[in-house]
């Protein structure tokens, strides 16, 4: 019954370059998304946290609006969001197909997720250190950048590792719009050709990348925590 799987022939001459192309596409999508979305998310997260009632720039109305937007977008399954923003993708990237077209919705999603993680980390800052900074005559922005953010660096680093895994997940769906990457590779050469070996190779590579990043983040966070 399962012999259909074992009849599949693996043509390494085709597979090997395709695999390397897929790896580089995945790394490209993931790093651009983490860079852009991570930065935008950091910014949005700081805005969310500091506009909370009683926080640095206490602006409850602004906070409510931003929180509503973030909460609205975040629960949408990514693959549906990808289709939903097609017009915007075309307007901004110029096309709705390919790796770059996939990056646009990924960055938006990454921004939303990161902002929440950043906000949650910042909430844990002891108000006492903020007060100490104010008591010395520091401005709110200086307090945010030089006191608040450094204080939560360890959880932030771990938060970003968590985000990274989410981005890997999103990047696998980029294949559906011709974005390539390891997800696309696994479907095209593994699933569609009944060749599980190929899928497992993708799985293994993804696991290695994720583990590497996670361990690296743990290491950094531990270093930072040691001084805290």
């Amino acid at each position: 019954m399962f012999n259909i799987f074992w009849q599949a022939k693996t043509n390494w001459d085709i597979i090997t370059p395709a695999l390397f192309k897929a790896i580089s596409e995945t790394l490209y999508m993931v790093s651009i998304t983490l860079g852009l979305g991570g930065l935008c998310g950091m910014f949005l997260g700081c805005v969310l946290w500091s506009t909370r009632k009683g926080s640095l720039f206490s602006q409850p109305v602004v906070y409510k609006i931003l929180e509503f937007i973030v909460n609205l977008i975040r629960p949408i399954p990514f693959i549906i969001f990808l289709s939903a923003v097609q017009p915007a993708t075309i307007a901004i990237v110029g096309t709705s197909l390919g790796t770059n077209a996939a990056i646009f919705p990924m960055v938006i999603f990454c921004t939303m997720a990161t902002s929440r993680i950043v906000e949650q980390s910042l909430i844990n800052v002891d108000y006492g250190v903020i007060e100490a900074s104010f008591a010395m005559g520091a401005s709110r922005l200086k307090t945010l950048f030089e006191v608040v953010i450094p204080e939560v660096l360890p959880p932030l680093v771990l938060g970003y590792a968590f985000i990274f895994i989410g981005i890997m997940d999103m990047s696998a769906m980029a294949g559906t719009i011709g974005g390539g990457g390891l997800g696309d590779f696994a479907i095209q050469y593994g699933y569609n050709k009944f060749n599980p070996l190929i899928t497992w190779i993708s799985v293994a590579i993804i696991l290695v990348i994720v583990q590497f990043i996670q361990q690296f983040a743990n290491f950094i966070a531990k270093k930072l925590l040691a001084r805290n």
Binding site: A132, F134, A135, M136, G137, P150
Partner: protein, 266 residues
């Protein structure tokens, strides 16, 4: 009319109310008092009396609803954000839980206030290094410059807090329960340091405590506070021998019990 020059802090009919959704709470009621230049001034009272709110009004961490607060002769109640930041540079603050920056070394903690610019001007790195090392030596922590606060004892942490508060060469030092988290021996060490600072630097210290024995050790005068009001302002001796208000009587009686000259009646 000439202002009496020797009042570094002056309150005139100051009120501060906290409003929450369904309640109002007058945390400071009609406070009128003054602290003299070079004095160590105590504020005692039970928890919730309004002590913290009162001293947070001095550096504008809380805004008064009415009344006048003069710091070094300048009314701070109508200052804008920028003016307030400048006033705060002249007022050091130390806290019960130290509020040190755990992500920074002891050195960086003390350096932080020096890196705050005024009108875009900031102290040069060389001068900062000089000031920080002098301060660390002054509080006896020169060996701990590269330590992180979490590896220090409570007393050492408060020394860092004190060095950090002195960095901008303030005119007044506010201490909110600065020894309440410390054991008795460390408390005495910190009080000794505060006394030394007062004597050598001529710094005015306003010190909040709920233990009146601390008042006896270092304060020239003390304000007894309860329910948002200052009940009386006197020297420790006067309060101790002749407490007038109910709050002062209760504090003195508790002090006697803890001291062992009075027993608990059941």
């Amino acid at each position: 009319m000439k202002k009496p020059k020797n009042n570094i802090v002056e309150f005139k009919n100051v009120n501060k109310e906290f409003k929450t959704k369904n309640s109002k709470h007058l945390a400071v009621k009609n406070a009128t008092f003054s602290v003299k230049q070079g004095e160590i001034f105590g504020i005692v009272g039970r928890s919730g009396a309004g002590k913290s709110t009162l001293i947070r009004l001095i550096n504008g961490l809380e805004k008064a609803d009415s009344g006048k607060i003069l710091v070094d002769g300048h009314n701070i109640t109508n200052l804008n954000y920028k003016g307030l930041k400048n006033v705060r540079r002249n007022i050091g603050f130390i806290f019960q839980h130290f509020n040190l920056f755990n992500s920074k070394t002891v050195y960086k903690n003390v350096e932080y206030p020096l890196k705050i610019s005024v009108n875009g001007v900031k102290m040069s790195p060389d001068n900062r290094r000089l000031v920080v090392s002098k301060l660390l030596e002054y509080v006896g922590l020169e060996k701990y410059a590269n330590f992180h606060p979490n590896s220090l004892s409570g007393g050492q942490k408060q020394r860092v807090g004190i060095a950090r508060a002195l960095a901008l060469n303030p005119k007044v030092l506010l201490a909110d329960e600065a020894t309440s988290a410390l054991d008795p021996e460390t408390t005495v060490e910190i009080l000794r340091l505060l006394k030394k600072i007062n004597r050598e630097l001529g710094l005015t210290i306003i010190l909040i405590t709920h233990t009146i024995s601390i008042v006896r050790l270092i304060c020239q005068r003390v304000a007894v506070m309860s329910e948002g009001q200052i009940q009386e302002i006197e020297t420790f001796k006067k309060i101790f021998s002749d407490p007038k208000s109910q709050a002062a009587k209760s504090l003195v009686s508790t002090f006697r019990i803890l001291e062992g000259t009075k027993t608990i009646d059941v």
